[in-house]
Symmetry: C2
Subunit: 202 residues, 2 copies
DNA sequence: CCTTCAATGGCACTCGGTGTCAAGCAGTTA
DNA sequence: TAACTGCTTGACACCGAGTGCCATTGAAGG
């Protein structure tokens, strides 16, 4: 009768502590501001020690930004899954659209997190850092798809940068409207502006 | 007989200490890596105390990134100085071109600094932060020039983002080639790709 | 000569972050 | 039940970044 449910109890407990920590951090940071809240405070609220906090998260910023971790590899995977015949603008638009949809899905938590990130300089900096890595990933994938040499052609890097510029703009509007504006429609509008540059390669 | 040469000796000394600090930091950081060098070390090399270091620079990253400080306001000023009839792509291209030219001018120092920034994660993060502010500035200037409402139109933000994407790509190539590639030519190529999107507004 | 003011150095302190170690506890084997 | 193993935890010491405070110095100025 399910002696080993594939996940040991230790693993479940670990996940539980991570959630506890994450939730405590989010609440405190949103309430009191990023730099007035100490890690001891967060850890104490979650009922663990400061040392344990750092066994789950690498830094104070990471508690908030961590949920964006695999979004980068996710974006590259989505882009890679598009048909090769598709126009770059369409492939990239779909890629951004999927990420926005992921946010809008659990908009309860995602919206709070995004708003906190965008209005907190230290967190926004980490977010930009992540985006920078995503750009490299997308550029590499684009170069491969189009058979371009990323060392001579500027296109992959520029196209990836434009797509993420669109993503950033859409995310900003979406969070600025408290989730009221439609992510899909915003994405459409942004790519309507950008597309002429993305597809101008022959 | 110029009793007050407009600059007091205290001011000159201040500038001198700043240079000393900046030079010591650049040399040590490039030599030993960003995180293995302590601020005490930098200060000692420059012949001052750690406390004095923080009277000149807000953080360890600032010693390196500081020289980019007014580049942002500079870019906005350049954009604002372009004739209004000019196509946005041309105005923005010129704006980026001026910044690159500023780098290429004192390429002795600028190249070292840029290379250090781009290959050091902590410094690159600060650089991205700065760029983020520049984007806001450029977007605001664009919106004003074109009579657009930045709260409804996505164009200003997107156009500014694309221009800075181009700037980033060009800077990366330039520093990657140790200054061998021509900044002006790189800028031309980048904007050749981007321009169709920038001028598609009617 | 005396005053004023800015720059400095030293010191103590907070906080983020890390290495280390001993203790607690689940699961396993005898 | 006892012993062993492996993982998680808390406590402690420690380092470096960054700040507040105060006493000292030295240049400028009356």
């Amino acid at each position: 009768m399910s002696p080993q449910p594939e996940v040991t109890m230790a693993q479940r407990k670990r996940q539980l502590v991570a959630n506890e920590l994450s939730e405590a951090a989010l609440q405190l940071l949103a309430l009191k501001g990023f730099d007035t809240v100490t890690i001891d405070e967060i850890a104490a609220t979650a009922g663990v020690s400061k040392r344990t906090f750092f066994r789950y998260f690498a830094s104070k910023e990471d508690v908030v930004v961590q949920f964006l971790a695999d979004m980068g590899t996710g974006m590259r995977a989505v882009l890679a899954s598009r048909p090769i015949e598709e126009q770059p603008s369409a492939s990239l638009q779909h890629t951004v659209w999927v990420s926005m949809a992921a946010c809008a899905d659990h908009s309860d938590r995602a919206l709070r997190v995004v708003q906190l990130i965008l209005r907190t300089p230290a967190l926004r900096a980490r977010f930009l850092e992540r985006q920078d890595q995503w750009r490299d990933d997308l550029a590499a994938e684009l170069a491969q798809r189009l058979g371009l040499d990323p060392d001579t052609d500027l296109y992959p890097q520029l196209a990836a940068g434009m797509a993420l510029t669109a993503f950033d703009a859409v995310l900003q509007r979406w969070s600025g409207s408290d989730g009221a504006e439609d992510p899909a429609e915003l994405t459409d509008r942004a790519f309507a502006t950008i597309a002429p540059a993305l597809d101008s390669v022959e």
